[in-house]
């Protein structure tokens, strides 16, 4: 039985097809989920893809958080369902309070798209167990509001609990506090990441194949968890 990984499409989702492709290349079955449908259709994990849900008007992710599918996902995530939020998905996870902190306007005020080196700080999550701690990976970053902020106590707690999942190396593309590129919840099943692993899964179209690790990680994780 191959794992079934749901990919949510909100109005304005853009990288949903790419996330589904990455899931497929990693060897799992992508299942498309619709924002207006609260059903998760029995998926084993969920990806909230990048894009501009609801135009990202007001604040990124602020409106998507209220989509019917999110209510189910929030509950399921609290129950241990692996959830990966990429870029806009990360923003939605913060708005939905599954992850602490917020993502704000890039400090230089521009959208920035570049190939970015990340250091995997935590290989203990459902989405990063295929990596070595400290491993450097090359993954595209592309966002206008990717600057991670939280109060000092929260940041210290994230650091202390090993919940900073990845950091920018060789230049911080958006001004994120403590170079944070990805974080996880206390249980390690919910991960939010600003760069786009789904765009580093094919030699022809990505700068590396490093992104695949995120998707193979969840398969490994699922094999280890009884259904």
């Amino acid at each position: 039985m191959t794992a079934r990984v749901g990919v949510v499409t909100f109005p304005g989702s853009l990288d949903d097809g790419d996330a589904a492709r990455a899931v497929r290349i990693a060897g799992a079955e992508p299942v498309r989920l619709w924002h207006g449908d609260p059903e998760l259709h029995g998926v084993d994990a969920v990806v909230l893809p990048g894009g501009f849900s609801y135009g990202d008007y007001l604040r990124c992710g602020a409106i998507a958080r209220f989509a019917p599918v999110m209510e189910t996902i929030v509950d399921a995530a609290r129950g241990g369902l692996p959830v990966l939020g990429i870029c806009n998905g990360f923003q939605i996870l913060c708005e939905a309070h599954l992850l602490p902190g917020a993502l704000t306007r890039n400090q230089h005020l521009h959208f920035r798209n570049r190939d970015q080196v990340l250091r995997i700080e935590s290989a203990g999550t459902a989405w990063t167990n295929a990596f070595q701690p400290g491993q450097e990976v090359l993954i595209p970053v592309k966002n206008g509001e990717g600057c991670y902020v939280a109060d000092t106590a929260t940041l210290d707690q994230l650091e202390a609990e090993g919940r900073v999942v990845a950091r920018y190396v060789g230049g911080n593309p958006n001004g994120s506090q403590r170079d944070i590129a990805a974080i996880t919840n206390a249980a390690g099943n919910v991960v939010g990441i600003m760069p786009h692993p789904e765009h580093a899964v094919e030699a022809l179209t990505g700068p590396s194949l490093d992104g695949l690790g995120f998707f193979t990680s969840v398969l490994k994780h699922l094999v280890g968890t009884p259904a």
Binding site: R21, G50, G55, N113, R114, K142, L204, T205
Partner: protein, 646 residues
């Protein structure tokens, strides 16, 4: 939006224009353009100006000059209608007969693209359609086109550029294609001019803001600084789309009894007069104070529009479709009806409005963005509305296709506003029967001097120190410097099919994951060459784009173009234009690839000073397998079998 007119379709014979004066001679006046005995202020009083009312008040003064219509053009309208036009009709004619929509000055020249076109088996739709469509495999076709949004991008750089991207994307969508990539050839004034900082940052943010939010990778463009563009920057935007061959759509409102559906954003007062004022008028000191209404783009709505339209196509739910761009409903209603030879009956009060107080002529002229017009069979209307609802897109039945006249002549477009007949016109008269001018042309007087001032006379670096200085100066030139500051504001990865993008010579997009089939694209232009020699300068632009596509490993198969020039009423500019078109047509003939579409932008000037003539040429090529693409950099291979230098 209108594209180049179809050169094979009959156009009324061009008015013969004498060399002097510059104004073409008027047509036979049927009714006097202005009738005395009316107080000069009685332009319009109150209530709705209806067709019966227009019939009863032939002498009413109408502000046609302010709308950009000339005396002879106004007379033609009266001749066509056999009465004075209503206020709504006048607005419609003034828009459709503007340079921007009617191509009245360029038509006679653009014909060459058809006449000189080499034969191509691939062409599924050519000049005259929203965008040219070329077949690239048994199942797949691609469509691409470049268009300008220059004047709005000067007035409100962010929104001007954003809506420029939005407009070209809808053109591509209207052909039945999924838009898959964009490119943006840009021209600005001097890099160190304070206003360039305003325009450049706004335009780049607008191109990125709209394209990124729409999920279209940006795979190339141009960034050129030259003082000639100081008061008139150029924002050209290209979009590429992919469609299954059997999903090709057309704009004809065929089938009397079919329902006319307006889809997308509500209609507001934005961009009213934009076509006549913004897109055709020259900038002068007054324009800053005039503060014209510009359109604001909503890429989110456009994204939903794309997904909804593609679902409608796949469900075979539409008979015809047309995007609303410049000239808004006016253009869409008349073009769809004219293309089918049918008539149309429209209830204008059904159009969903953002501002309830809008007048009929404002609704007809509005350039509100993110709208499409559909023609739908009555029994499929429910399914269409349901799909639109699923995507959260507004869709409203506003009219009905009606039969041609019993004698076989095309039908008429009848528009009512709360039971008042405000428009009764033959749609073709707005689309095809507009004025056509053979404008006077004369080689610019300063050209000989310019050409005599040869590069060879420039001082050459004679010693290492001078050489070093020259190299440093060149590296520091904004036109040669790294463009990353611009290109990294664009998403190049989204959709996951970008094989090559900036800083490569051409962009390459995979269009079929199964087979690896892909296309390569490049857009190029050089206003300085074109200023020195418009004929060869245009050929050079074509050659450069052709080369940039060829070096990716692709076979060039089709050409699009955006011709950015000054005022066609200036014989010098008109000569440049004519030479450029001749150059492009000849170049395409020599290279054996057809022009499949394009766009003309006139009146790019500040005061009397025109921009450099700037033909921008886009070439599309096909790659059977994108794995065979040739990147710009050297590729190190395992085993030391590296690339060789020749």
């Amino acid at each position: 939006m209108t594209t180049h007119p179809d050169p094979v379709r009959d156009t009324p014979e061009a008015y013969s224009a004498p060399a002097q004066p510059a104004e073409p001679s008027p047509a036979q006046p049927v009714a006097p353009a202005t009738v005395p005995a009316q107080p000069a202020t009685a332009v319009w009083t109150e209530g709705v100006d209806t067709v019966p009312r227009a019939g009863g008040t032939p002498g009413e003064l109408q502000p046609y000059t302010e709308l950009g219509l000339r005396d002879d053009e106004y007379d033609r309208i009266r001749q066509i209608l056999d009465r004075r036009p209503t206020q709504s009709e006048l607005a419609m004619y003034s828009i459709m007969w503007s340079e921007h929509c009617s191509y009245k000055s360029s038509k006679v020249h653009l014909r060459q693209f058809g006449e000189k076109a080499p034969h191509s088996d691939r062409l599924l739709a050519g000049i005259g359609e929203n965008a040219g469509v070329v077949q690239v495999s048994d199942e797949l076709a691609v469509t691409f086109k470049v268009e300008s949004h220059n004047h709005p991008s000067f007035v409100e750089p962010y929104q001007g550029a954003a809506t420029g991207v939005g407009g070209i994307v809808r053109d591509i969508l209207a052909m039945g294609a999924r838009p898959v990539a964009v490119m943006d050839p840009l021209r600005f004034g001097a890099a160190d001019h304070p206003d360039t900082a305003r325009v450049l940052t706004g335009v780049v943010a607008g191109v990125g803001g709209y394209g990124n939010c729409l999920g279209l990778p940006n795979i190339g463009g141009e960034l050129v600084f030259d003082p000639s563009y100081q008061g008139n920057p150029l924002l050209n935007a290209l979009c590429l789309g992919v469609l299954p061959v059997n999903r090709l759509q057309n704009k004809a409102a065929a089938g009397p009894g079919n329902v006319v559906v307006l889809m997308g954003a509500k209609t507001g007062r934005d961009g009213i007069g934009g076509v006549s004022v913004l897109a055709s008028a020259t900038f002068d000191e007054g324009s800053e104070a005039r503060r014209p209404a510009v359109q604001v783009g909503d890429p989110f709505t456009e994204k939903l529009l794309i997904e909804a339209c593609l679902e409608l196509y796949d469900g075979q739910l539409v008979v015809g479709i047309q995007d609303l761009g410049g000239a808004g409903l006016t253009c869409a209603l008349t073009e769809t009806a004219a293309a089918a030879g049918t008539g149309m009956r429209v209830w204008l009060e059904r159009v969903p409005l953002r501002e309830p107080s809008m007048d009929p002529h404002e609704i007809l002229a509005s350039e509100s963005q993110e709208r499409m017009l559909l023609v739908v069979e009555p029994d499929k209307l429910d399914a269409v509305l349901k799909t639109c609802e699923k995507w959260g897109v507004l869709a409203t039945a506003i009219g009905e296709v009606t039969a041609p006249e019993p004698d076989g002549r095309p039908g008429r477009l009848l528009i009512t506003w709360q039971d008042h007949l405000v428009v009764d016109v033959p749609p073709g008269s707005l689309v095809d029967d507009g004025p056509v001018y053979a404008r006077p042309m004369r080689e610019p007087a300063d050209l000989i001097l310019l050409q005599a001032d040869r590069a060879e006379t420039l001082p050459r670096p004679a010693d290492p120190e001078a050489l070093r200085e020259t190299v440093l100066r060149m590296i520091a030139s904004p036109n040669l410097a790294d463009k990353t500051w611009v290109t990294e504001q664009y998403d190049r990865y989204v959709l996951g099919n970008t094989v090559l993008a900036q800083p490569e010579d051409g962009g390459v997009i995979r269009i079929d994951e199964r087979t690896g089939l892909g296309v390569a694209l490049s857009v190029d232009g050089n206003g300085r060459y074109a200023r020195l020699d418009p004929y060869n300068g245009t050929k050079l632009a074509l050659a450069e784009a052709y080369r940039n596509v060829a070096v990716t490993g692709a076979k060039p198969i089709a050409v699009t173009n955006c011709l950015n020039f000054g005022s066609p009423e200036d014989p010098g500019v008109m000569w440049q234009f004519a030479e450029a078109v001749r150059g492009l047509a000849d170049g395409c003939l020599e290279l054996g690839i057809p022009v499949t579409g394009g766009n003309v932008s006139f009146y790019n000037q500040t005061g009397a000073a025109a921009i450099h003539p700037t033909p921008v040429v886009g070439v599309l090529g096909v790659l059977d397998n994108v794995a065979d693409r040739v990147p710009m950099g050297f590729v190190p291979r395992a085993g030391g079998d590296h690339d060789q230098l020749y």
